[in-house]
Amino acid sequence: MFGKRTSIFRFCFISFLLILFIQACDLKHQNQETTEPRYIVTSPELAEILAAVDGTDRIYGITSECDYPLQLAPKKVVGTFGKIDIEKVIALKPSLIFTSGLEQDKITADLRKIGLNPIQIYPKSVSGLLEAITTIGEVTGNVDRTRILRDSLSKIVTDAKKSISGLVKPKVYIEIYGSPIMSVSRESYIGELIELAGGKNIFSGLSREYSRIKPEEVVLKNPDVILLTYPGVRAEDILQRKGWGIINACRNSRIYSRKDLDPDLIIRATPRSLRSIYKLREIFYEK
């Protein structure tokens, strides 16, 4: 009887101590006050846009994928596109953090939770890119400079559209991944660039932007040009695929891989990607 009462008393006493201890851990995040603008940018696309609009001086942190322009190389790396070290972000005391979409939805939510100031920009199309440039120009206070950049880029787009009307368009197959093989629809950014450069994307009608496709469909649709954007693949690998030899592109050896065109130029929605429309056109209308 005596033993039982002591153990209940001990139980209550320890519970009480626990409650006291845990209630003492009442921590609150405070918004950090910073005077000068300090930016962290977590996607290579946004890094390029930001550098084009505002320069690289006020960028204090990047992710490991941000490799262009080269002035970003000495900046502090706060993680990768998919996994960001929040402690490093806080340590840099950023006034503004530029985050992208996809895997970064959760990262953006987490940054907001602890009272930081993320701004999420994920351009999915050419018009989205122009909008992103405007937004970044506004938040960094570069409205005039942005307007010039934007106008010159819009001009590239309208010129491109004008110059391709009436041409006989080559059929283009873009392979963004090899196992399983994947291509892009017209809704994707690369898909849009291909059409602007005067190519006819054979998978433009896919239901998802980036999607798995069947190899027999490629053979059936018989593209004139094949563009490979992922690492570790050579034109010869495509020629050796069973049954692909009858495709026009294979017969005329018009298969282009990373050594012909840097995929970062067309995969990332950036100002320089619009200038690469000309390069794409050279590839499509060679001969």
């Binding site: 490991s64 998919g82 929040i86 895997e103 939770k113």
Partner: protein, 307 residues
């Protein structure tokens, strides 16, 4: 007596050193310690504490050395809930969904185990495994169709103690923490009865323990605690399965304090693993990888030394 005292003292000193390193190593500023490290510290401690403690209880109550907190399917159910919230974009609700998933799974397993009118630990295990497999298949489907959320899904499936708390979430978590620890204390107070079960149902019953009732109660409370852990930290393997065995080998069957020792050992072990996971590479590793990586050789070492 003297030996035990020294061991205890050593453990406390190691624990304090580790805690200090965990909180301040490369922390940069006080702000980081307060808003990131302390919540992580408490989450890690309570996760290891609960997992290893429950592992010990389950291994005895289910009479199976392979039992662990996740064996009853709870983890898959909770993971499914969290992942569902993540792919719907409801990141703030991930813990809530995880917890709801755990509770629903628990009732499902419970009902399956009761089919046929009687209740046995074998049936309970089987229903747990079946329900777990079913939810794993559902998770695979979600993974296949939501490639962009793969990072979040990996966090849930391989364990991630770096949950970012907002002020509101932290307040809620503190209450959950209190409830969980009080439940753990209750389990400690029942540890004598739990140990009696390990001698066999007949003997335990003859000693005045209501075995069926105690099993049900432990199962319910255990599932709740597992739900809390998975909701915040994802699925962290190894701790619940191996730490109790290590403690059992080290204490050589001295059962009186094994439950408490398991729980504390689990907390210490997980704290160490998470510290490594945080600092080993530039990008933080999922802690589940580290637990098995460090734990398996350690287990073999202990096994060989005490053969």
């Amino acid at each position: 007596m003297r030996n035990r005292f020294l061991f205890f003292l050593g453990f406390i000193i190691c624990f304090l050193v580790l805690s200090y390193l965990f909180l301040y190593f490369k922390a940069g500023s006080q702000e980081i310690v307060i808003s990131i490290r302390i919540p992580r510290f408490l989450l890690t401690l309570v996760t290891g504490f609960i997992l290893a403690g429950l592992g010990y209880v389950y291994q005895i109550v289910l009479n199976n050395p392979l039992a662990e907190p996740y064996i009853l399917g709870i983890s898959s159910g909770a993971a499914f809930g969290s992942i569902l919230a993540a792919v719907s974009g409801l990141f703030l609700l991930m813990p809530l969904f995880g917890f709801i998933g755990a509770v629903l799974t628990m009732f499902l397993v419970w009902q399956l185990a009761r089919l046929g009118g009687f209740f046995s630990s074998t049936k309970l295990l089987l229903s747990g495994i079946i329900v777990g497999l079913f939810f794993s298949a559902l998770i695979s489907v979600i993974m296949y169709f939501n490639q962009k959320d793969i990072g979040n899904i990996i966090n849930v499936l391989m364990g991630n103690l770096g949950h970012v708390f907002s002020n509101l979430e932290w307040t809620i978590f503190r209450y959950i923490l209190i409830v969980s620890l009080v439940i753990m204390l209750y389990l400690f107070s029942q540890s004598e009865k739990i140990n009696i079960i390990s001698t066999g149902d007949e003997i335990a019953t003859s000693l005045g323990v209501n075995v069926t009732r105690l099993r049900k109660l432990l199962f319910l409370l255990g599932s709740l605690l597992t739900g809390v852990v998975v909701a915040y930290a994802g699925i962290i393997g190894f701790v619940g399965l191996i730490v109790p065995h290590i403690v059992r080998i080290l204490t050589r069957g001295n059962k009186r304090y094994n439950l408490i020792l398991s729980a504390c050992g689990g907390a210490f072990f997980l704290l160490f693993c998470d510290f490594i996971a945080m600092h080993l590479t530039i990008v933080e590793l999922p802690v589940g990888i580290i637990t098995s990586f460090l734990g398996c050789p350690f287990f073999v070492f202990i096994l060989v030394k005490n053969k």
